[in-house]
C-alpha cells in the first residue's frame, strides 16, 4: 500500500512534466498543424544552456530564466527559418523536417557539451517529506514542479481566453484568412505560438533534468511520452494535454514501479495505440472528426 501511494505521488510529479511537454506540442499543433518532433531536442539544448550558466557561477534562478529566454528565441527562430516553408506542405514533410531538426540539435549539443550525461541541480531538496515514521516518495522539489506546471497552465489559459493577444493567436490558428482580413499579423502570431511552446518545453526540461541527468539523448523517452500525453488529450486541447500528462504519468509510474522502468516507453506505445484505435479524437478533443 505504501508502494502504491509512493508510485501515485511520483506519478503526479512526472505527470506534471509530461503535461508541460504535451502542452508544448499542443501549442505548436494548434498554431501550425505540425507535430514538433524536435521538441525533445530543443528542451535538451536549453537545459544545457541553463546548466552552463549554473556551472559558471550563476544562480539557479538565473539559469532557469536564461533557459526560458533561450527557448523563446529558439522556438521563434525555428518557426521563422525552417518550419514556415513546410507548414502548408504534406504532413510527412513537416515530420521529416522536425526529425532532421531533432538530429541536428542533438549533434550540435554533443559537439559542444559531449555525449556523457551530467548531473543537473534541483531547485529544492530531493529528500522526501516525512509523514509519521515513513518517508514519502514526494519531495519539496516535486511540489515545486507541480506548482510551476499548474501556474504555467493557468497563465496559458488566461492568455488564450482572457487577452486580445490570445484571441488574435487563436484566430490566426483556426481561420488564418479571416484573421488576416481583420488585420491580424498571422505569420507573427504563428511565430509567437512556436516561441511560447518552446518556452514551455524548456521549462519542462529544467524541471525534469535533475531526475534523468542531462545528455544529448536523455530526453528521448520524455518526448515520446509527451507526444502520447498530447494525443491522449486530443492533440489540440491544452486542458486535455494537462489531464493526459497526469493520467499518463500515473499509469507509467505504476508500470515502472511494478514491472520495471525499461517497459515504460513500450507501455506508452501500447497506450497510444489503444487510444488511437478506440478514441482517435483523444479524450478532450474539440473537433468532432479527424483523420489520424
Amino acid at each position: 500500500m505504501t508502494k502504491f501511494i509512493d508510485l501515485t505521488l511520483s506519478g503526479i510529479s512526472s505527470g506534471a512534466i509530461y503535461a508541460a511537454v504535451a502542452l508544448a506540442l499542443v501549442l505548436i499543433w494548434r498554431s501550425t498543424r505540425v507535430v514538433n518532433f524536435a521538441q525533445g531536442a530543443m528542451l535538451m539544448f536549453t537545459t544545457f544552456i541553463a546548466s552552463a550558466v549554473i556551472t559558471s557561477g550563476g544562480s539557479y534562478v538565473l539559469g532557469f530564466a536564461v533557459a526560458l529566454a533561450a527557448g523563446f528565441v529558439l522556438g521563434a527562430l525555428v518557426e521563422r527559418t525552417v518550419v514556415r516553408p513546410v507548414e502548408n506542405a504534406r504532413p510527412l514533410n513537416a515530420v521529416i523536417l522536425t526529425l532532421g531538426l531533432y538530429t541536428l540539435i542533438v549533434a550540435i549539443a554533443g559537439m559542444i557539451w559531449g555525449n556523457t550525461p551530467r548531473s543537473f541541480p534541483a531547485a529544492f531538496s530531493l529528500r522526501g517529506y516525512k509523514v509519521g515514521g515513513t518517508t514519502l516518495l514526494f519531495t519539496p522539489n516535486d511540489t515545486f514542479i507541480v506548482l510551476v506546471v499548474i501556474a504555467v497552465a493557468a497563465a496559458l489559459a488566461f492568455l488564450f481566453r482572457g487577452t486580445s493577444l490570445g484571441l488574435r493567436m487563436r484566430g490566426a490558428a483556426f481561420a488564418p484568412e479571416v484573421a488576416r482580413l481583420l488585420g491580424v499579423r498571422v505569420g507573427r502570431m504563428l511565430t509567437l505560438g512556436w516561441a511560447l511552446a518552446a518556452t514551455v518545453g524548456s521549462l519542462a526540461g529544467v524541471l525534469v533534468a535533475p531526475s534523468v541527468f542531462l545528455g544529448p539523448n536523455s530526453f528521448d523517452p520524455i518526448l515520446i511520452i509527451g507526444f502520447v500525453a498530447a494525443v491522449l488529450g486530443g492533440l489540440d486541447s491544452p486542458p486535455g494535454a494537462v489531464v493526459g500528462g497526469i493520467v499518463l504519468g500515473l499509469a507509467l509510474s505504476y508500470v515502472s514501479g511494478y514491472e520495471g522502468s525499461s517497459l515504460v516507453p513500450l507501455a506508452a506505445l501500447v497506450i497510444l495505440v489503444i487510444v488511437l484505435m478506440f478514441r482517435p479524437t483523444g479524450l478532450f478533443s474539440a473537433t468532432k472528426e479527424r483523420r489520424v
Binding site: L92, I96, T103, L104, M111, D220, V292
Partner: protein
C-alpha cells in the same frame, strides 16, 4: 533490339538479369578488395536491405516508419538466438528465422500502423523504436541485458579454401541478402501488388472504391519493409558479431530515414546511394575532423549533424534525393543524345534509331511511375 525485348516484357527475367549481373560484379569487386573494404561492402549490404524496404514503404505505399531500427533489433536478436548453442542453426537458416520473426512482429505493428496517418504514424513508430530495444534490459538472462548477445563469426565453406578471408565471406553473405531483397522488391513493385500500393498512396478513397482493401495493402507494405529490416538486422549480427541494445538507438532509425531520403525515396537505386552514404560518410567526416584537428566530440557528432542538415535541406529544397538528381540529369541529357543519334543515322536505320529513343523514353517513364515523387 529483339533479345532485349524479352527482358522488357518479363519483370521476372529482368529482375533475374539484374540480380545475376549485380552478383557477378559484386563477386569480382569483392575479390579485389582489402579486408577493410570488404567489411565496408558488408555494412553496405545490410544497410541496403533496410533502406530498400524503407524506400519502398515510403515511396510506394506512402507510409513512414521510424521503427526500422527496432525491426533490425528483432532480426539481430533472433539471429543471435538461433545461431547460438542451444539451437545452433547455421547462418542461412538463422537468417530466414530472423526474417520470419520480424514478419511475425511486423504484422500487428503494421496492422496498427495502417490505421494511422502522418504525425500519428511517425509518433507511434518513434515510440516503437525507443521502446523495443529497452526490452533487452527486462530479460537480461535471455537477451543479455546491456551487453547483448555475442555471435560467433561465420565460417566460410571448405571449398573456398581455409585461407578465405572472413571479411570477404561476410561481404558475400550481406550482398547475397541485398540481392534477395532486390529480387523480391523489384518483382513486388512491378506487380499488381506494387500498383495497388501506389493506388492506395495516391488516393485512398478512389482505391477503396475500386475494391482495394486499403488497410490490408498498407499492412502488407509495412510487413515487407519490416522483413527487409529484419534481414538487415540479421546480417548486421553476422557482420558485427554482436546484438546489443546500444546498437539500435533512436538515432539509428533516424539515420536510416536520412539515408533513404538522401538516396531518394521510392527508388531501389536510391537505396543504393543511401547505403553508400551511410557507409562512407562517417569515415569522411572522421578524416575531415582529423585534418582540421577537431575535438573528438565534434568528429563523433559530425555525421549525425550532416544527416540532420540533409533531412532539413531535402525537405526545403531538394526532396527527390540523389537519385532524383541523377534522373533529372539523365532526362536533361537524353534529348541531346537522342538528337545526335538521329542525325547520325542513315535513312535505313532511322526507324530503328527512333525506336530505340522511344523505348528509352518508355523505360524512363515507367521508372518514374515506380518511384513517384513521394518525398513532397
Amino acid at each position: 533490339m529483339k533479345p532485349l525485348a524479352v527482358f522488357r516484357g518479363s519483370t521476372l527475367l529482368r529482375s533475374l538479369a539484374i540480380v545475376v549481373v549485380a552478383g557477378v560484379v559484386l563477386l569480382l569487386v569483392s575479390d579485389s578488395l582489402s579486408s577493410y573494404r570488404n567489411l565496408q561492402l558488408a555494412y553496405g549490404g545490410y544497410y541496403f536491405c533496410v533502406l530498400a524496404g524503407l524506400t519502398v514503404l515510403a515511396g510506394s505505399s506512402g507510409q513512414i516508419s521510424l521503427g526500422q531500427g527496432a525491426f533490425m533489433a528483432v532480426g539481430a536478436y533472433t539471429f543471435s538466438k538461433l545461431n547460438a548453442t542451444p539451437v545452433a542453426w547455421s547462418v542461412f537458416p538463422s537468417l530466414v528465422g530472423a526474417v520470419v520473426a520480424t514478419v511475425l512482429i511486423g504484422i500487428p505493428v503494421g496492422a496498427a500502423a495502417s490505421r494511422l496517418r502522418g504525425p500519428y504514424l511517425a509518433g507511434a513508430t518513434l515510440a516503437f523504436a525507443v521502446g523495443l530495444p529497452a526490452l533487452a534490459d527486462k530479460f537480461p538472462a535471455f537477451l543479455g541485458g546491456e551487453n547483448g548477445l555475442i555471435v560467433n563469426p561465420p565460417t566460410s565453406p571448405s571449398w573456398l579454401g581455409s585461407s578465405f578471408p572472413l571479411e570477404r565471406w561476410e561481404a558475400w553473405i550481406a550482398c547475397g541478402g541485398a540481392l534477395v531483397v532486390v529480387f523480391v522488391l523489384y518483382n513486388l513493385t512491378h506487380s499488381a501488388v506494387g500498383r495497388s500500393w501506389r493506388a492506395v498512396r495516391d488516393d485512398e478513397i478512389a482505391a477503396s472504391l475500386s475494391g482495394l482493401r486499403v488497410g490490408r495493402r498498407q499492412t502488407l507494405a509495412f510487413v515487407v519493409s519490416a522483413a527487409c529490416a529484419g534481414l538487415g538486422g540479421g546480417l548486421l549480427a553476422v557482420v558485427t558479431q554482436i546484438a546489443s541494445p546500444g546498437a539500435f538507438p533512436l538515432q539509428l532509425s533516424l539515420t536510416l530515414l536520412a539515408g533513404a531520403v538522401i538516396g531518394g525515396l521510392g527508388s531501389l537505386v536510391g537505396a543504393l546511394w543511401g547505403a553508400a552514404v551511410l557507409v562512407f560518410l562517417p569515415n569522411w567526416t572522421t578524416d575531415l575532423a582529423n585534418s582540421f584537428s577537431l575535438s573528438g566530440n565534434v568528429s563523433h557528432n559530425l555525421p549525425i549533424a550532416i544527416y540532420g542538415l540533409v533531412l532539413i535541406a531535402a525537405m526545403l529544397v531538394w526532396p527527390s534525393g540523389i537519385q532524383g538528381g541523377v534522373r533529372a540529369a539523365g532526362s536533361a541529357l537524353r534529348p541531346a543524345i537522342a538528337g545526335r543519334g538521329r542525325r547520325a543515322a542513315a535513312s535505313p536505320e532511322a526507324e530503328a534509331g527512333l525506336g530505340a529513343g522511344a523505348g528509352a523514353g518508355a523505360g524512363a517513364s515507367e521508372d518514374e511511375e515506380v518511384t513517384g515523387e513521394r518525398a513532397r
